[in-house]
C-alpha cells in the first residue's frame, strides 16, 4: 500500500473552483444549446473566478502561518492567497470585458473554459513550492493563453501572435527548465526551502541556473531584454485576452519571482538583487523609449506594461519586506489600470471595427465621458499621478530602492516616469484635446453598443485605481502580512 500524501483541499480550493468552472464551461460546448451557450459559459467562468476570489479571501484569513501542502509541493500562505485574489479579481473583470467581444461564436464556451483554466494555472503558479510545480503551472497557464490568443481562427493576427507567443514562450520556459535542472544539480533539491537549506553559495552551476531561472521568469513578466514578444502578442491577441495577459500573467510572474528569489536563493542575494535591478533598468529604458514612438494604442500599452514591470521589479530587487510590500501594493492598482485601459480599448475597437490608434481615439473622451474619464484616470495612474494608486505604488517602490541604498535606481525611476508622461499624456491629449470634427476619422454619433458588463468592469477598475490611493493603510497591511510569509533572512 502506498502511503498517500495528505491533500489539503482547502488550500487548493481556488485552483479547483476554477478548474471545475473550466470543465463545466467546456461541457457547455456540447450540452447547452447554441443560443445560450455563450451566456452560460461566461456565467460559469465568472462564478469560478468569484469563487476563487472568495476562497482566496478565506485562505488569507485562515493561513496566518504559511506551510507547504500536498507533500510540500504547494504553498498555503498569505502571499499565495493575496496573489490568488488579484488574479481572480482580474479574471472576473476580464470575463465581463470579454462578454461582448465581436468574435466568432462557435468557440464561445471553449473561450471561457480556457480563460478559467489559465486563471487556475496562475492561481497554482503563485503558490508553487518547488521547481517542478513551478514549471508545470507555468506551462499550464501559458498553453491556455497560447490557445486563447488564437481562439478566433479567422483572425490572422491572432494566429500569428499565438505562434509567436508559443515559440518565444516555449523558449523562455525551456530556459527556465534548464536553469531549474542546473539548480537541482547544484543543490540536489527541487523545493525552494530545500534549495535555500542546501546553502550553496557562489557555485558556478547554481549561479548559472539562477540566471536562467530569472531569465525564464522575466520572459513571462515581459521585462526587457526578454520582452520582444510582448508588443506583437499584445497587439495580435483579442483585447480581453491582452488585458488578462497584461494584468494577471504579470502579477503571477512577478509574485513568483519574488517568492523564488527570496525563498530559495537568500544566500545569493548579492547577485540577484543586482541582476533584477539591471533588468528593471532595461525595462524602464526600453519600455519607455519604445512606447514614445507607437501610434497603436495597444502597442503603446504593451510597451508601457514593460516599463511598469520595470518599476515593480525595483521592488523585488530591494530584497526587503518593504520591497515586497511595494511590489504587492503596486500590483493592485496596476492590474486594475491595465484591465481598465484595455477594456476601454476593447470598447473603442468594437465601436469602430478597426484597431485603435492615437488618431482614432480623438474626441473619444467627450463622446463617451464615462470611458474617457476612466481611461484618463488609468493613464494618470500609469504615469504615477496622485489620486491614483499608481502614485503610492511608485512612491513605495522608490522608498524600497532608497532603503536598499540604491538612490541611483530612484533617479532612474524618476527619469523614466518623466519620459512616460509624454506618451500617457499624449493619449489623454488625443482623447480630449483634439476636435473630432477636425479629424473626420472616427464615425461619430449613433449610440454605441450598450455594454453594461464592460462598463461595470471599467468602473470597478476606476474605483480600485482611485480607491487604492486613499485606502493605502488597509492594503499595505494586507500586503505586509502576505510578504511576511516569506522567510526574510534579516
Amino acid at each position: 500500500m502506498i502511503p498517500k500524501p495528505h491533500v489539503d483541499w482547502f488550500a487548493l480550493a481556488p485552483v479547483d473552483s476554477l478548474l471545475v468552472a473550466a470543465g463545466v464551461a467546456l461541457l457547455c460546448a456540447v450540452l447547452v444549446p447554441r443560443s445560450w451557450r455563450k451566456g452560460v459559459a461566461a456565467g460559469v467562468c465568472g462564478l469560478g473566478y468569484a469563487a476563487a476570489f472568495g476562497f482566496g479571501v478565506a485562505l488569507y484569513v485562515k493561513s496566518a502561518d504559511g506551510h507547504g501542502v500536498v507533500a510540500d509541493a504547494f504553498n498555503r500562505d498569505r502571499l499565495t492567497a493575496l496573489a490568488t485574489m488579484i488574479v481572480a479579481g482580474t479574471g472576473l473583470l476580464v470575463t465581463g470585458v470579454a462578454y461582448r467581444e465581436r468574435a466568432r461564436e462557435d468557440h464561445a464556451a471553449e473561450y471561457y473554459a480556457l480563460l478559467a483554466a489559465s486563471g487556475a494555472g496562475m492561481a497554482f503558479f503563485v503558490g508553487a513550492n518547488n521547481l517542478m510545480t513551478l514549471f508545470l503551472a507555468l506551462e499550464w497557464f501559458s498553453i491556455s493563453l497560447y490557445i486563447l490568443c488564437a481562439i478566433d481562427r479567422d483572425r490572422l493576427g491572432g494566429l500569428e501572435a499565438a505562434l509567436k507567443y508559443l515559440v518565444i514562450g516555449g523558449f523562455g520556459s525551456a530556459v527556465l527548465l534548464f536553469g531549474s535542472a542546473l539548480v537541482y544539480g547544484a543543490t540536489g533539491k527541487l523545493d525552494f526551502p530545500g534549495i535555500a537549506a542546501a546553502g550553496a553559495q557562489d557555485n558556478a552551476l547554481l549561479v548559472f541556473g539562477l540566471a536562467m531561472l530569472i531569465a525564464g521568469l522575466a520572459f513571462k513578466a515581459s521585462a526587457a531584454p526578454f520582452h520582444m514578444w510582448t508588443p506583437d502578442v499584445y497587439e495580435g491577441a483579442p483585447t480581453p485576452v491582452t488585458a488578462f495577459m497584461a494584468a494577471a500573467t504579470k502579477t503571477a510572474a512577478l509574485v513568483v519571482t519574488l517568492r523564488v528569489l527570496v525563498t530559495a536563493f537568500p544566500a545569493n542575494a548579492h547577485l540577484w538583487t543586482v541582476a533584477i535591478a539591471v533588468i528593471a533598468v532595461c525595462s524602464l529604458v526600453v519600455g519607455n523609449l519604445a512606447a514614445l514612438v507607437q501610434r497603436g494604442v495597444k502597442r503603446m500599452l504593451a510597451y508601457s506594461s514593460i516599463s511598469q514591470a520595470g518599476f515593480m521589479l525595483i521592488g523585488v530587487s530591494a530584497n526587503s519586506p518593504l520591497g515586497g510590500r511595494a511590489l504587492l501594493y503596486y500590483l493592485i492598482p496596476y492590474t486594475a489600470m491595465s484591465v481598465g485601459a484595455f477594456a476601454v480599448v476593447a470598447a473603442r475597437e468594437r465601436e469602430l471595427g478597426v484597431p485603435v490608434t492615437f488618431e482614432n481615439m480623438a474626441g473619444f473622451g467627450w463622446e463617451r465621458p464615462l470611458l474617457g474619464i476612466s481611461m484618463w484616470a488609468f493613464l494618470l495612474g500609469f504615469a504615477g499621478f496622485p489620486l491614483t494608486g499608481g502614485f503610492v505604488g511608485k512612491f513605495y517602490v522608490f522608498a524600497a530602492a532608497y532603503e536598499h541604498g540604491w538612490t541611483w535606481l530612484v533617479i532612474v525611476g524618476v527619469l523614466a516616469t518623466l519620459v512616460s508622461l509624454y506618451y500617457y499624456l499624449g493619449l489623454v491629449r488625443a482623447m480630449f484635446m483634439r476636435r473630432t470634427e477636425d479629424l473626420q476619422l472616427a464615425p461619430i454619433g449613433g449610440s454605441p453598443p450598450r455594454e453594461t458588463l464592460l462598463q461595470t468592469a471599467v468602473v470597478t477598475c476606476l474605483v480600485v485605481t482611485v480607491g487604492s490611493f486613499f485606502a493605502v493603510q488597509p492594503l499595505i497591511d494586507l500586503c505586509k502580512h502576505a510578504v511576511n510569509s516569506l522567510p526574510w533572512g534579516v
Binding site: F135, L166, V167, A174, S180, A181, Y184, L190, D232, E235
Partner: protein, 105 residues
C-alpha cells in the same frame, strides 16, 4: 547497489548543454515554424538529459519525474504549436496571399 559506469556526469552535462544551445540557435535563427518547433524539442531534451543526469548523480528520483513531466509538457506544446501552424497555413491558403505580414516584427 549500482555504481555509475562509463563517463561521469560532467560529460552528460556537456552533451545536454550542447543540445540546449543548438536548439536555442535553431529557435532564434530558423524561420520555418515547423523547424522552430523541432528546435524547441531539442532544447527541452537537452534540459531533460541534464535533469536525468543530475537525478542519477544525486540518487534522487525527482529529476526523472521532472523529465517525464517535461515530456508531457513538450507534447502539449507540440500539439498546440502544430495546431497553430495548421490553422495559419489553412488561413493563408484561403486568403491566397503569398507573404502576409500583419505584425511588425
Amino acid at each position: 547497489m549500482i555504481a555509475l559506469l562509463g563517463p561521469e556526469i560532467s560529460w552528460y552535462l556537456a552533451v545536454a548543454g550542447f543540445l540546449f544551445a543548438t536548439g536555442s540557435l535553431g529557435v532564434l535563427l530558423r524561420r520555418n515554424p515547423l523547424i522552430v518547433l523541432l528546435s524547441l524539442e531539442i532544447m527541452l531534451n537537452g534540459a531533460n538529459l541534464a535533469l536525468i543526469g543530475f537525478s542519477r548523480n544525486l540518487g534522487d528520483g525527482g529529476g526523472q519525474i521532472f523529465a517525464l513531466a517535461v515530456m508531457a509538457v513538450a507534447a502539449s506544446e507540440v500539439v498546440v504549436g502544430l495546431g497553430l501552424v495548421v490553422a495559419l497555413n489553412r488561413k493563408r491558403v484561403t486568403l491566397d496571399v503569398d507573404r502576409l505580414n500583419t505584425l511588425r516584427g
